[in-house]
Amino acid sequence: MTTTARGIDRDALARIVAADIPAGSFVNLGIGLPTKVANHLAPDSGVMLHTENGMLGMGPEAVGDEVDPDLVNAGKIPVTELPGASYFHHADSFAMMRGGHLDICVLGAYQVSATGDLANWHTGAPDAVPAVGGAMDLALGAKQTFVMMDLLTREGAAKLVRACTYPLTGLACVTRVYTDLAVFLVEDRGVVVREAFGLTFDDLQALVDVPLIDGTH
Protein backbone atom coordinates (compact mmCIF):
# COMPACT_ATOMS: atom_id res chain seq x y z
CA MET A 1 0.00 0.00 0.00
CA THR A 2 1.27 3.44 -0.84
CA THR A 3 1.03 6.15 1.76
CA THR A 4 1.06 9.06 -0.65
CA ALA A 5 -2.65 8.99 -1.44
CA ARG A 6 -3.87 9.32 2.12
CA GLY A 7 -4.55 12.49 4.01
CA ILE A 8 -5.79 15.94 3.04
CA ASP A 9 -3.97 19.19 2.42
CA ARG A 10 -3.95 22.18 4.72
CA ASP A 11 -6.58 24.18 2.88
CA ALA A 12 -8.95 21.23 2.92
CA LEU A 13 -8.33 20.88 6.65
CA ALA A 14 -8.94 24.60 7.21
CA ARG A 15 -12.23 24.24 5.32
CA ILE A 16 -13.32 21.42 7.65
CA VAL A 17 -12.48 23.47 10.76
CA ALA A 18 -14.31 26.49 9.36
CA ALA A 19 -17.41 24.39 8.66
CA ASP A 20 -17.42 23.27 12.31
CA ILE A 21 -17.53 26.83 13.66
CA PRO A 22 -21.16 27.75 14.44
CA ALA A 23 -22.56 30.96 12.95
CA GLY A 24 -22.15 33.96 15.20
CA SER A 25 -19.24 32.53 17.20
CA PHE A 26 -16.47 34.65 18.70
CA VAL A 27 -13.25 32.97 17.58
CA ASN A 28 -9.49 33.43 17.97
CA LEU A 29 -7.25 31.90 15.32
CA GLY A 30 -3.67 31.23 16.42
CA ILE A 31 -0.54 32.08 14.50
CA GLY A 32 0.41 29.84 11.55
CA LEU A 33 -1.82 27.08 10.20
CA PRO A 34 -4.99 28.18 12.10
CA THR A 35 -4.87 31.54 10.29
CA LYS A 36 -5.97 29.69 7.13
CA VAL A 37 -9.37 28.99 8.68
CA ALA A 38 -10.35 32.64 8.13
CA ASN A 39 -10.17 32.11 4.36
CA HIS A 40 -12.96 29.52 4.56
CA LEU A 41 -15.47 31.21 6.87
CA ALA A 42 -18.63 32.11 4.97
CA PRO A 43 -19.04 35.90 4.75
CA ASP A 44 -22.60 35.64 6.09
CA SER A 45 -21.66 33.35 9.00
CA GLY A 46 -21.40 36.27 11.41
CA VAL A 47 -18.28 34.71 12.97
CA MET A 48 -16.37 37.51 14.69
CA LEU A 49 -12.59 37.16 14.94
CA HIS A 50 -10.72 38.22 18.07
CA THR A 51 -7.03 39.04 18.02
CA GLU A 52 -5.27 39.11 21.39
CA ASN A 53 -3.51 42.38 20.64
CA GLY A 54 -6.79 44.13 21.26
CA MET A 55 -9.44 43.81 18.59
CA LEU A 56 -12.78 42.17 17.83
CA GLY A 57 -14.07 42.20 14.28
CA MET A 58 -10.76 41.63 12.52
CA GLY A 59 -10.97 41.52 8.74
CA PRO A 60 -8.76 39.86 6.10
CA GLU A 61 -5.07 40.57 5.64
CA ALA A 62 -4.44 44.11 4.39
CA VAL A 63 -3.15 44.64 0.84
CA GLY A 64 -1.75 47.70 -0.89
CA ASP A 65 -3.12 50.97 0.48
CA GLU A 66 -4.98 49.16 3.25
CA VAL A 67 -1.72 48.43 5.09
CA ASP A 68 -1.58 50.40 8.35
CA PRO A 69 1.27 49.76 10.82
CA ASP A 70 -1.15 50.49 13.69
CA LEU A 71 -3.43 47.63 12.65
CA VAL A 72 -1.87 44.18 12.90
CA ASN A 73 -2.90 40.69 14.01
CA ALA A 74 -1.26 38.48 16.64
CA GLY A 75 1.34 37.43 14.08
CA LYS A 76 2.13 41.13 13.49
CA ILE A 77 0.73 40.87 9.96
CA PRO A 78 -1.19 43.98 8.74
CA VAL A 79 -4.94 43.29 8.71
CA THR A 80 -8.16 45.22 8.12
CA GLU A 81 -11.15 46.08 10.29
CA LEU A 82 -14.73 45.06 9.54
CA PRO A 83 -17.80 47.19 10.26
CA GLY A 84 -18.61 46.80 13.95
CA ALA A 85 -14.99 46.22 14.97
CA SER A 86 -13.83 47.36 18.40
CA TYR A 87 -10.46 48.00 20.03
CA PHE A 88 -9.42 47.46 23.66
CA HIS A 89 -6.24 47.28 25.69
CA HIS A 90 -4.30 44.11 26.44
CA ALA A 91 -5.65 43.44 29.93
CA ASP A 92 -9.21 43.66 28.59
CA SER A 93 -8.31 41.45 25.65
CA PHE A 94 -7.02 38.70 27.91
CA ALA A 95 -9.88 39.13 30.40
CA MET A 96 -12.12 38.43 27.41
CA MET A 97 -10.27 35.16 26.89
CA ARG A 98 -9.69 34.07 30.45
CA GLY A 99 -13.23 35.02 31.41
CA GLY A 100 -14.63 32.41 29.04
CA HIS A 101 -16.21 34.80 26.56
CA LEU A 102 -14.58 33.37 23.44
CA ASP A 103 -16.42 30.40 21.96
CA ILE A 104 -13.52 28.77 20.14
CA CYS A 105 -9.80 29.19 19.73
CA VAL A 106 -7.82 27.28 17.13
CA LEU A 107 -4.14 26.64 17.89
CA GLY A 108 -1.20 24.77 16.44
CA ALA A 109 0.58 22.13 18.52
CA TYR A 110 3.74 20.08 18.96
CA GLN A 111 1.81 17.47 20.93
CA VAL A 112 -1.67 16.80 22.33
CA SER A 113 -2.28 14.13 24.98
CA ALA A 114 -5.15 11.67 25.20
CA THR A 115 -6.66 13.80 27.98
CA GLY A 116 -6.36 17.07 26.05
CA ASP A 117 -3.11 18.39 27.51
CA LEU A 118 -1.45 20.75 25.04
CA ALA A 119 2.24 21.38 24.28
CA ASN A 120 2.77 24.12 21.71
CA TRP A 121 5.17 26.78 22.99
CA HIS A 122 8.60 25.29 23.51
CA THR A 123 10.53 22.32 22.20
CA GLY A 124 12.58 22.24 25.38
CA ALA A 125 15.79 22.25 23.34
CA PRO A 126 18.54 23.80 25.49
CA ASP A 127 19.58 26.43 22.92
CA ALA A 128 16.02 27.35 21.89
CA VAL A 129 14.87 30.90 22.69
CA PRO A 130 11.57 30.31 24.50
CA ALA A 131 8.48 32.36 23.62
CA VAL A 132 4.98 31.72 24.93
CA GLY A 133 2.86 34.70 23.84
CA GLY A 134 -0.83 34.24 24.49
CA ALA A 135 -0.96 30.47 23.98
CA MET A 136 -1.45 29.54 27.64
CA ASP A 137 -4.24 32.08 28.17
CA LEU A 138 -6.00 31.10 24.94
CA ALA A 139 -5.83 27.36 25.51
CA LEU A 140 -7.43 27.66 28.94
CA GLY A 141 -9.76 30.55 28.36
CA ALA A 142 -11.83 29.71 25.31
CA LYS A 143 -14.92 27.52 25.80
CA GLN A 144 -13.48 25.12 23.23
CA THR A 145 -9.88 24.73 22.09
CA PHE A 146 -9.33 23.16 18.68
CA VAL A 147 -5.88 22.08 17.57
CA MET A 148 -4.78 21.95 13.93
CA MET A 149 -1.62 19.98 13.18
CA ASP A 150 -0.08 17.25 11.07
CA LEU A 151 -0.72 13.96 12.86
CA LEU A 152 2.86 12.76 12.35
CA THR A 153 6.25 14.42 12.70
CA ARG A 154 8.67 14.32 9.77
CA GLU A 155 10.19 11.26 11.43
CA GLY A 156 6.75 9.57 11.50
CA ALA A 157 6.05 9.84 15.24
CA ALA A 158 2.44 10.59 16.19
CA LYS A 159 1.86 13.96 17.84
CA LEU A 160 -1.28 12.64 19.54
CA VAL A 161 0.33 10.97 22.56
CA ARG A 162 -0.52 9.29 25.88
CA ALA A 163 1.36 12.05 27.76
CA CYS A 164 3.16 15.10 26.36
CA THR A 165 6.96 15.02 26.50
CA TYR A 166 7.36 18.68 25.46
CA PRO A 167 6.80 21.44 28.06
CA LEU A 168 3.07 21.92 28.65
CA THR A 169 0.97 24.90 27.59
CA GLY A 170 -2.13 23.82 29.52
CA LEU A 171 -3.77 20.80 31.13
CA ALA A 172 -6.93 19.12 29.76
CA CYS A 173 -7.81 22.06 27.54
CA VAL A 174 -8.01 20.63 23.99
CA THR A 175 -11.45 19.44 22.87
CA ARG A 176 -10.77 18.56 19.22
CA VAL A 177 -7.72 17.74 17.13
CA TYR A 178 -7.88 18.36 13.37
CA THR A 179 -5.09 16.64 11.48
CA ASP A 180 -4.21 15.80 7.89
CA LEU A 181 -5.16 12.18 8.55
CA ALA A 182 -8.17 12.36 10.87
CA VAL A 183 -10.36 14.48 13.15
CA PHE A 184 -10.25 13.45 16.83
CA LEU A 185 -12.67 14.42 19.58
CA VAL A 186 -11.23 14.46 23.11
CA GLU A 187 -14.07 13.19 25.28
CA ASP A 188 -14.45 11.87 28.84
CA ARG A 189 -14.69 8.30 27.48
CA GLY A 190 -11.48 8.72 25.47
CA VAL A 191 -10.27 9.89 22.08
CA VAL A 192 -12.93 9.40 19.42
CA VAL A 193 -12.10 9.35 15.69
CA ARG A 194 -14.82 11.40 13.98
CA GLU A 195 -13.50 10.96 10.45
CA ALA A 196 -10.38 9.63 8.79
CA PHE A 197 -8.97 10.84 5.49
CA GLY A 198 -7.96 8.10 3.09
CA LEU A 199 -7.12 5.43 5.63
CA THR A 200 -9.10 2.95 7.72
CA PHE A 201 -9.67 3.18 11.46
CA ASP A 202 -7.31 0.22 11.93
CA ASP A 203 -4.59 1.89 9.84
CA LEU A 204 -4.99 5.02 11.96
CA GLN A 205 -4.85 3.07 15.23
CA ALA A 206 -1.61 1.47 14.04
CA LEU A 207 -0.03 4.94 13.76
CA VAL A 208 -1.09 6.20 17.18
CA ASP A 209 -0.17 4.85 20.60
CA VAL A 210 -3.33 6.29 22.17
CA PRO A 211 -6.30 3.85 22.28
CA LEU A 212 -8.88 5.22 19.84
CA ILE A 213 -12.66 4.88 19.75
CA ASP A 214 -14.20 4.45 16.31
CA GLY A 215 -16.78 7.17 15.77
CA THR A 216 -16.58 7.17 11.97
CA HIS A 217 -19.89 5.34 11.45
Binding site: M55, L71, F94, R98, A131, G133, G134, M136
Partner: protein
Protein backbone atom coordinates in the same frame (compact mmCIF):
# COMPACT_ATOMS: atom_id res chain seq x y z
CA UNK B 1 -2.27 74.62 35.33
CA UNK B 2 -1.54 71.09 34.25
CA UNK B 3 0.84 68.89 36.17
CA UNK B 4 1.89 67.32 32.88
CA UNK B 5 5.12 68.51 31.26
CA UNK B 6 5.21 69.01 27.51
CA UNK B 7 8.66 68.68 25.96
CA UNK B 8 10.17 69.93 22.73
CA UNK B 9 12.51 66.98 22.31
CA UNK B 10 12.44 63.29 23.14
CA UNK B 11 15.87 63.61 24.83
CA UNK B 12 14.39 66.10 27.29
CA UNK B 13 11.41 63.80 27.86
CA UNK B 14 13.54 60.82 28.93
CA UNK B 15 16.16 62.84 30.83
CA UNK B 16 14.94 61.65 34.24
CA UNK B 17 15.44 57.91 33.60
CA UNK B 18 18.14 56.57 35.93
CA UNK B 19 20.45 53.60 35.47
CA UNK B 20 19.04 50.47 37.08
CA UNK B 21 15.43 51.53 36.46
CA UNK B 22 12.61 49.21 35.49
CA UNK B 23 11.13 50.62 32.29
CA UNK B 24 7.86 49.46 30.75
CA UNK B 25 7.70 49.84 26.97
CA UNK B 26 4.34 49.72 25.16
CA UNK B 27 3.84 48.03 21.83
CA UNK B 28 3.06 44.72 20.20
CA UNK B 29 5.77 44.16 17.65
CA UNK B 30 6.18 47.62 16.13
CA UNK B 31 2.50 48.63 16.58
CA UNK B 32 2.43 51.08 19.48
CA UNK B 33 6.15 50.82 20.17
CA UNK B 34 7.47 54.26 21.23
CA UNK B 35 10.46 54.04 18.92
CA UNK B 36 11.54 57.68 19.25
CA UNK B 37 11.49 57.53 23.07
CA UNK B 38 13.54 54.34 23.02
CA UNK B 39 16.04 55.92 20.63
CA UNK B 40 16.30 58.85 23.04
CA UNK B 41 16.86 56.46 25.94
CA UNK B 42 19.66 54.96 23.86
CA UNK B 43 21.26 58.40 23.55
CA UNK B 44 20.95 59.00 27.31
CA UNK B 45 23.39 57.53 29.83
CA UNK B 46 20.87 55.16 31.44
CA UNK B 47 22.03 51.56 31.57
CA UNK B 48 21.52 48.35 33.59
CA UNK B 49 17.82 48.60 32.73
CA UNK B 50 15.04 46.10 33.28
CA UNK B 51 12.66 46.25 30.33
CA UNK B 52 9.03 45.12 30.64
CA UNK B 53 7.48 44.73 27.19
CA UNK B 54 5.58 42.14 25.19
CA UNK B 55 8.45 41.56 22.77
CA UNK B 56 12.20 42.06 22.98
CA UNK B 57 12.70 44.09 19.84
CA UNK B 58 13.13 43.31 16.18
CA UNK B 59 15.55 44.44 13.51
CA UNK B 60 18.15 47.01 14.56
CA UNK B 61 15.99 49.79 16.02
CA UNK B 62 14.12 50.52 19.25
CA UNK B 63 14.36 47.82 21.90
CA UNK B 64 16.66 45.74 19.72
CA UNK B 65 19.18 48.60 19.59
CA UNK B 66 19.00 49.03 23.37
CA UNK B 67 19.82 45.34 23.80
CA UNK B 68 22.56 45.47 21.15
CA UNK B 69 24.26 48.28 23.09
CA UNK B 70 24.29 46.23 26.29
CA UNK B 71 22.02 48.61 28.19
CA UNK B 72 19.52 45.98 29.28
CA UNK B 73 20.12 43.72 32.29
CA UNK B 74 16.80 41.91 32.26
CA UNK B 75 13.79 41.52 29.98
CA UNK B 76 10.31 40.65 31.27
CA UNK B 77 8.20 39.68 28.25
CA UNK B 78 5.97 37.05 26.67
CA UNK B 79 7.39 36.67 23.18
CA UNK B 80 11.06 37.55 22.63
CA UNK B 81 11.57 35.21 19.67
CA UNK B 82 10.81 36.78 16.29
CA UNK B 83 12.25 36.27 12.84
CA UNK B 84 14.31 39.45 13.29
CA UNK B 85 15.07 39.30 17.05
CA UNK B 86 18.76 38.59 16.42
CA UNK B 87 20.05 41.06 19.02
CA UNK B 88 17.94 39.53 21.79
CA UNK B 89 18.73 35.97 20.67
CA UNK B 90 22.47 36.64 20.68
CA UNK B 91 22.46 38.35 24.11
CA UNK B 92 20.24 35.63 25.59
CA UNK B 93 22.37 32.77 24.26
CA UNK B 94 25.52 34.52 25.48
CA UNK B 95 24.00 34.82 28.96
CA UNK B 96 24.36 38.61 28.72
CA UNK B 97 20.82 39.28 29.90
CA UNK B 98 18.23 37.68 32.13
CA UNK B 99 14.82 36.67 30.74
CA UNK B 100 11.62 36.38 32.75
CA UNK B 101 9.15 34.78 30.37
CA UNK B 102 5.52 35.50 31.29
CA UNK B 103 2.36 34.30 29.52
CA UNK B 104 0.94 37.33 27.72
CA UNK B 105 -2.31 37.52 29.69
CA UNK B 106 -0.45 37.21 32.99
CA UNK B 107 1.95 39.92 31.84
CA UNK B 108 -0.97 42.25 31.05
CA UNK B 109 -2.84 41.45 34.25
CA UNK B 110 0.29 41.83 36.42
CA UNK B 111 0.83 45.28 34.87
CA UNK B 112 -2.85 46.15 35.34
CA UNK B 113 -2.70 44.93 38.97
CA UNK B 114 0.22 47.26 39.70
CA UNK B 115 -1.74 50.26 38.42
CA UNK B 116 -4.86 49.19 40.29
CA UNK B 117 -3.23 48.62 43.68
CA UNK B 118 -3.84 44.86 43.76
CA UNK B 119 -1.49 42.90 46.05
CA UNK B 120 -1.53 39.68 43.99
CA UNK B 121 -4.10 37.58 42.16
CA UNK B 122 -4.92 33.96 41.33
CA UNK B 123 -5.01 33.12 37.61
CA UNK B 124 -5.63 29.78 35.86
CA UNK B 125 -3.08 30.60 33.15
CA UNK B 126 0.14 28.65 33.37
CA UNK B 127 -1.01 26.15 35.99
CA UNK B 128 0.80 22.83 35.57
CA UNK B 129 3.36 24.31 33.17
CA UNK B 130 7.05 25.18 33.60
CA UNK B 131 6.14 28.89 33.80
CA UNK B 132 4.31 28.33 37.11
CA UNK B 133 7.05 26.26 38.74
CA UNK B 134 7.73 27.31 42.33
CA UNK B 135 4.66 29.54 42.48
CA UNK B 136 1.91 29.25 45.07
CA UNK B 137 -1.21 27.48 43.80
CA UNK B 138 -4.73 27.12 45.13
CA UNK B 139 -7.84 25.21 44.10
CA UNK B 140 -10.85 27.54 44.01
CA UNK B 141 -14.28 26.08 43.23
CA UNK B 142 -12.59 22.92 42.00
CA UNK B 143 -10.28 24.70 39.57
CA UNK B 144 -6.52 25.17 40.02
CA UNK B 145 -5.00 28.66 40.03
CA UNK B 146 -1.51 30.18 40.28
CA UNK B 147 -0.66 33.21 42.44
CA UNK B 148 0.84 36.05 40.39
CA UNK B 149 2.21 39.37 41.65
CA UNK B 150 2.01 42.84 40.14
CA UNK B 151 4.83 44.26 38.04
CA UNK B 152 5.78 47.77 39.13
CA UNK B 153 8.06 50.13 37.23
CA UNK B 154 9.74 53.46 37.74
CA UNK B 155 9.00 54.51 34.18
CA UNK B 156 6.62 53.69 31.32
CA UNK B 157 7.39 54.70 27.74
CA UNK B 158 4.12 54.78 25.81
CA UNK B 159 3.12 55.63 22.24
CA UNK B 160 -0.34 57.19 21.81
CA UNK B 161 -2.02 58.97 18.91
CA UNK B 162 -3.36 62.21 20.42
CA UNK B 163 -2.88 64.05 23.69
CA UNK B 164 -4.73 67.15 24.80
CA UNK B 165 -2.94 69.85 26.80
CA UNK B 166 -3.89 68.12 30.06
CA UNK B 167 -2.35 64.81 28.95
CA UNK B 168 -5.54 62.89 28.22
CA UNK B 169 -4.75 60.24 25.61
CA UNK B 170 -6.40 58.42 22.75
CA UNK B 171 -4.75 55.65 20.75
CA UNK B 172 -5.06 54.34 17.23
CA UNK B 173 -6.36 50.87 16.38
CA UNK B 174 -4.23 47.96 17.68
CA UNK B 175 -1.41 50.34 18.65
CA UNK B 176 -3.31 50.77 21.94
CA UNK B 177 -2.27 47.32 23.30
CA UNK B 178 -0.19 47.75 26.50
CA UNK B 179 -0.22 51.59 26.57
CA UNK B 180 -3.15 52.22 28.94
CA UNK B 181 -2.14 49.64 31.58
CA UNK B 182 1.53 50.63 31.51
CA UNK B 183 0.63 54.31 31.87
CA UNK B 184 -1.28 53.41 35.04
CA UNK B 185 1.36 51.04 36.43
CA UNK B 186 4.50 53.19 36.34
CA UNK B 187 5.53 55.92 38.78
CA UNK B 188 6.39 58.19 35.85
CA UNK B 189 4.73 57.88 32.44
CA UNK B 190 6.36 59.41 29.37
CA UNK B 191 4.24 59.49 26.23
CA UNK B 192 5.08 60.16 22.59
CA UNK B 193 2.12 61.25 20.47
CA UNK B 194 1.46 62.05 16.83
CA UNK B 195 -0.64 65.11 17.69
CA UNK B 196 -1.17 67.50 20.58
CA UNK B 197 -4.66 69.02 20.50
CA UNK B 198 -6.39 71.70 22.57
CA UNK B 199 -7.97 70.68 25.85
CA UNK B 200 -11.66 70.07 25.28
CA UNK B 201 -11.25 68.87 21.70
CA UNK B 202 -11.16 65.18 22.62
CA UNK B 203 -14.57 63.64 23.25
CA UNK B 204 -14.56 62.85 27.02
CA UNK B 205 -16.45 59.62 26.25
CA UNK B 206 -13.61 58.41 24.04
CA UNK B 207 -10.58 59.24 26.20
CA UNK B 208 -8.78 55.96 26.87
CA UNK B 209 -6.04 57.07 29.27
CA UNK B 210 -7.17 59.89 31.59
CA UNK B 211 -4.49 62.51 32.29
CA UNK B 212 -4.06 61.39 35.91
CA UNK B 213 -1.76 58.61 34.59
CA UNK B 214 0.42 60.87 32.43
CA UNK B 215 3.51 62.91 33.42
CA UNK B 216 5.45 63.83 30.29
CA UNK B 217 4.33 64.28 26.68
CA UNK B 218 6.36 64.87 23.55
CA UNK B 219 5.09 65.12 19.99
CA UNK B 220 7.03 63.10 17.42
CA UNK B 221 7.00 62.74 13.67
CA UNK B 222 6.63 59.11 12.81
CA UNK B 223 8.45 57.83 9.77
CA UNK B 224 6.00 58.60 6.93
CA UNK B 225 6.98 55.34 5.23
CA UNK B 226 6.00 53.45 8.38
CA UNK B 227 2.72 55.38 8.54
CA UNK B 228 1.70 54.53 5.01
CA UNK B 229 3.01 51.03 5.29
CA UNK B 230 5.34 51.42 2.34
CA UNK B 231 8.14 48.87 2.33
CA UNK B 232 11.17 50.11 4.26
Amino acid sequence: MSRVSFHDTVLEAVAGIASGATVMVSGFGSAGQPVQLIEALLESAATDLTIVSNNAGGGDVGLAALIREGRVRKVVCSFPRQVDSWHFDQAYRAGALELELVPQGNLAERIRAAGAGIGAFFTPTGYGTPLAEGKETRVIDGRPFVLEHPIHAEVALVAAHRADRLGNLVYRRTARNFGPIMAAAAETTIVQVDHVVPTGSLDPESIVTPCIYVDHVVRVERDPAALTGAPT
